[in-house]
Amino acid sequence: MTNKLYTDVLIIGGGVIGSSICYYLSKKGINTVLVERFGISSGSSGACDGFIFLQSKKDKDLCTLTLESLKKFTFLSEELSYDTEFEKCGGLVIFTDEGKFRLLDDKSGNENKSENRKRSSIISKKDGIKGNNYIKKIDRLELKKIEPFISKKVIAATSCGDEGQVNPINLNFGFIEASKRNKAKILTYEEVVSFNITQNENYFNEDITYRRKISKVYTANREIIPEEVVCACGAWSKKIGDMAGTKIPVIPRKGTLIVTEALPKIINHVILDFDYLCCKYEENRELGFTIEQTKSGNLLIGSTREFAGFDDRVDFNKLSKVIYRAKEIFPFLGEVSIIRSFCGFRPYSPDLLPILGKVQGFDNFWLAAGHEGDGIALSPITGILMSELIGEKINSGKILNNFLGVDLKKFSPERFNKV
């Protein structure tokens, strides 16, 4: 092994999360190296939609983080000198079923309806989102004005003006290019193959605790000696965890997306079917409908939420069902051509919250994964949070447990080690 590389922080994973962490660390002047086994954006960040959605964030703290992320997005293109195609176009959650829409108002504590209550609470209305009228209800007439091509079957919607869209691939490359300017080293087509782990004995009140440290990281032709190691491998994080000898509970949740030919501006918002939101919280549902029009004019139609391992073949039956629903909601789509379809893997975390923080039992191993469908929306704030945590540890040896008023215990990897 001839090629030795010393660094303060090593990030594994060149997706949007890894590159964001890389950017914010290098911005602080911390010596950073990023390794990616294929090209930039070759995993989920290159096979997803660009929704930045607030209405789907049920958790209060997740909402706080998303709102902060949104603030960053507004000037990120300028900061990175890269066009992320961010647009605050507003988001809609659409309803085709009157009953489900009424559930939003159902605040009665009827326990028999717990299933319904669960569904209505899926749309976060007050907790994290400031202001009473932040999420507006819209009737069919108003909907027709703002989204003229929508079908009559859609009886109502909820809208949030601050939601928007971004081009995830551009965002990813933007972070990478800006990191390079900040002197970070980006190594693509280099896969991490193994770790060298040393054990330290710590004596505390006569108890011996063993703390492990990743002292060396090997790729096919290089030996990297890092101070800190960050795993940002999304759905593939488990593999890195296995190498380190710790269990990372992230599994892939597959989504299928369809891209159409480019059209003139025809859809004004990022649109999510209410049933799609339910998919996230109900494990046995897997079909939903989402649509956005990208800056290039192509429509991006999704999506499924399946547990199917890493099988990246497009399932024709499921694709047909998504298209069927799409045509139901936007009848003009029948005349529009599909140019490609593909699958991506959301990093699913068992409690539907991202896993951010230091891995228990290790001195220098960090995890930032498990964002499921929110990775793009949360990427800037994840980068900032992780760079604060790691920067603080490098500078003062302390581990922060609070960030923007959010208790980080909730997101820490330790939460899965209990019981």
Binding site: S41, S320, S337
Partner: protein
């Protein structure tokens, strides 16, 4: 080849832009596609894929046969959604 010549006609990506992507570290056709949009248009790279493979080979000092073949995404030809 003229530097402003268009390599990907659907997305109007020039030779210069693809070359810049290769110089910035892109090593496969799919990474160039993501960075420049070459191959993301209506024909899905049917015309530009081979030109880009050749460019990668020339710049990397390789044979075209050594360049990784891009995964073809369905459908093979564009289809209207009404057939579903």
């Amino acid at each position: 080849m003229n530097k402003d010549e268009i390599v990907c006609r659907c997305e109007e990506v020039t030779y210069k832009e693809v070359l810049k992507a290769i110089k910035s570290g892109c090593k496969t056709i799919s990474e160039i596609r993501r960075k420049t949009r070459a191959g993301m248009g209506f024909c899905q790279g049917k015309s530009c894929r081979s030109i880009i493979a050749k460019m990668l080979a020339v710049e990397g000092g390789k044979e075209v046969s050594e360049i990784e073949v891009e995964k073809i995404r369905p459908p093979a030809i564009t289809v209207k959604m009404k057939i579903f």
